[in-house]
Amino acid sequence: MSEFTHLGSQLVNLCSVLLLLSCFAIVAQRRLSACVDLFALQSFFLATTAALVAFLTGHRHIYLAAALTVVIKVIVLPRILRKVIERLNVSRELVMNINIPAGLLICGGLVVVAFFITQPIIPLGYLLTRDSLAIALAIILIGFFTMIARKKAVTQMVGFLVMENGVFLGATAAAYGMPLIVELGVFFDVLVAGLIAGIYTHRLQDAFDSVDTSELTALKE
């Protein structure tokens, strides 16, 4: 392996790890607005990773994906979420189903699980980005966990977006990005999902005077 690729591989790994760390920070964070900021930061790391991979491999279309990540996930979606928080005045401390230390421990466990699951398939990957696949799965699982552990509609949305970031890292890392049309479609879906969630929190607020989804209990067996 040339010196250059080796350095590149280290850089990609570093960025992936930063993504994973920001996941832990989101789990440990009680303030809603800080969660959104951390999501924006994570998306920024994602864009950096994508740009790095694009630079190191010469796959031009990944630059486009990186640019779209910056526009949609670093700027537009966090702005929508911040507006929702402002309007609903829900920046208060979060009530969680699971307390923070336990949550962090579970997330640590999830990382181990992710590495365990991906072990048999990692040798197949490109040398440059091999280990990122395991990290991507870890991020998906932590995002999933966040959606279960948190009750506020906004944090559930953040959890979903974190999962999406994980999938995207997986696609960039494992296969140097998906076909362009798929990538564009995924971005479109994520953007619309964000907008819809924004409208929902508004309507839920009107109907329930709360965006605490634990109050959504009218429908039961």
Partner: protein, 510 residues
């Protein structure tokens, strides 16, 4: 070429038109005309598929073979009957003041976007584009479910959005993994997710990656199908959605979600022994079937009753696909069509009953036979069909699934429980056991369903409920679907049989 364009562009155009049209009558006419055009285009496309085998067009974006064409038939048929039913249903909701007249256009816009997403998901050649379209169905329907904006419907809509988005994010990881394995073999990055490319090289894909990919895809799209334990959004969504939307969700969306699973199964089965996907589907199918038939006994809300019946029928179809082979797969596919017809009919009558009795409680509805005779007959037909009585068509497909199950042979006769316990059972015992279990819960289901529906149909309606039913355009689909349920139970038309047989060969390779 042109049928494909009509099928894709029709709903988009109609959706955009709906946003600018103000008059209800024009809206309904546009909607009905679009569905009629889709029906015609689909007929032409079917003929083309029967002659040519498969159609690839719009570059390589669109790929329609017998399997996807069969699903398209279900989409257009149920869509067409829905458009007629909505004519009287939505007008009455506007007249009662449940929804503002200006919101009718938005309703039709979302309806057509939903339709477009389903058609696109079925026609997509690329598994990635298919994923985008399936997520599109979630986004389009969440506001349709919450359309009446009551607290419960908002809750159901939010739950649906979150659970299905999570599920589908997992499915996307599965698609990424599929791509991860295929791009190594195919090299060409832009077409490495295309079904047309994948099917040729599937046996050279890495089995370990595909295993993991199929697990993610199964859990992901399985959430959309409503397989237990990912089904929790489904009863709420079906109960709160307006009746025609519930009919579309139950009849068509589930079918499309099953289709996406079948596409992946067809690819994975080439790289791995088909027991891998088969056993997974069999387990999920059985659990869904058993859990749903028990939950049916507990229901006191007739829309929830039908919702659980959907889970049960999807479980049944999964058992068919899980057993696989020609008979099982044929039965499973045929069951998708029969279930779509019966379930759409069930939700149509549920809408009629709800409008007349103003309650969703089974106990609140008595004497349907005197208050709404036509609806009462349709309710009975739907219920008979859903519990699998002859001469209705679900009986035929369920019989196929059961016979495939009883003829099932297992590759290994030792089941490992944990690491140290191994149970050895002979083949006969196992398939007899499975069939017995299946029939037992079939009987549970029969009893539960018929007791509840029977109590709604007979007796005397409570005070203040109008008697007699006048004919509306909304009754036309009821008659047509009843006729179809009986007709398909008696004889399967030749073109449909050929199409189904070819669709089976898409899934089962020899």
């Amino acid at each position: 070429m042109w049928p494909v364009i009509v099928l894709l562009a029709g709903p988009v155009l109609a959706g955009l038109l709906s946003l600018v049209i103000r008059r209800a009558r024009v809206l309904h006419t546009v909607n009905f005309a679009t569905m009629l055009a889709l029906g015609v285009a689909e007929t032409v496309l079917t003929r083309q598929v029967l002659v040519e085998g498969s159609v690839t067009t719009l570059g390589t974006l669109v790929y329609v073979d017998a399997l996807s064409d069969f699903i398209l038939i279900i989409i257009t048929a149920i869509g067409l009957s829905c458009s007629l039913y909505m004519w009287s249903y939505m007008d009455e909701q506007v007249a009662r003041g449940v929804i503002a007249p200006k919101h009718l256009g938005v309703f039709f816009f979302l309806f057509h976007m939903f339709l477009f997403a389903m058609v696109a998901a079925t026609m997509a050649n690329s598994l990635g584009v298919q994923w985008v379209a399936v997520e599109g169905t979630t986004l389009a329907t969440t506001f349709l479910i919450a359309f009446f904006r009551r607290r419960e419907s908002l809750e159901a809509g939010w739950k649906y959005l979150i659970l299905c988005s999570v599920g589908i994010a997992l499915a996307l990881f599965g698609v990424v993994l599929t791509y991860y394995s295929s791009v190594r073999v195919l090299g060409d990055a832009s077409s490495a997710l295309n079904v047309t490319e994948l099917i040729g090289v599937a046996d050279r894909l890495d089995p370990n990656v595909l295993k993991l990919a199929f697990l993610f895809i199964l859990v992901g799209y399985g959430t959309k199908v409503g397989l237990v334990p990912m089904h929790t959004w489904l009863p709420d969504a079906y109960t709160e959605a307006p009746a025609p939307i519930a009919a579309m969700l139950a009849g068509v969306l589930e079918t499309v979600a099953v289709y996406t699973l079948l596409r992946s199964k067809a690819i994975v089965d080439q790289a791995l022994p088909s027991e891998f996907t088969g056993n997974l589907l069999l387990v999920f199918g059985f659990v869904s079937f058993v859990v749903a038939s028990l939950f049916i006994l507990l229901q006191h809300n007739y829309k929830r009753l039908f919702a659980y019946s959907s889970i049960e029928h999807m479980g049944l179809a999964m058992i068919g696909f899980g057993v696989g082979g020609l008979v099982g797969t044929f039965g499973g596919l045929f069951h998708l069509l029969n279930h779509a017809l019966a379930k759409a009919l069930a939700f149509f009558v549920a809408g009629n009953i709800h409008r007349r009795f103003d309650t969703l409680e089974i106990d609140g509805v008595r004497g349907l036979a005197t208050s709404q005779p036509v609806t009462a007959v349709a309710t009975l037909v739907a219920a008979f069909a859903l519990v699998g009585l002859p001469p209705f068509s679900p009986f035929v497909s369920e019989l196929l699934v059961v016979s495939a199950l009883s003829a099932q042979t297992f590759a290994s006769d030792t089941v490992h429980v944990g690491r140290f316990v191994a149970v050895t059972v002979s083949d006969e015992v196992r398939s007899v056991g499975l069939v017995a279990l299946f029939l037992l819960f079939g009987v549970v289901l029969f009893g539960g369903m018929m007791a509840k529906i029977g109590s709604m149909v007979w007796g005397a309606p409570r005070e203040g409920v109008a008697r007699g039913e006048s004919w509306t355009v909304g009754h036309v689909p009821l008659l047509v679907m009843m006729a179809a349920l009986i007709g398909l139970g008696v004889a399967l038309p030749e073109p449909l049989r050929t199409l189904l047989a070819r669709a089976v060969t898409v899934i089962v390779q020899r």
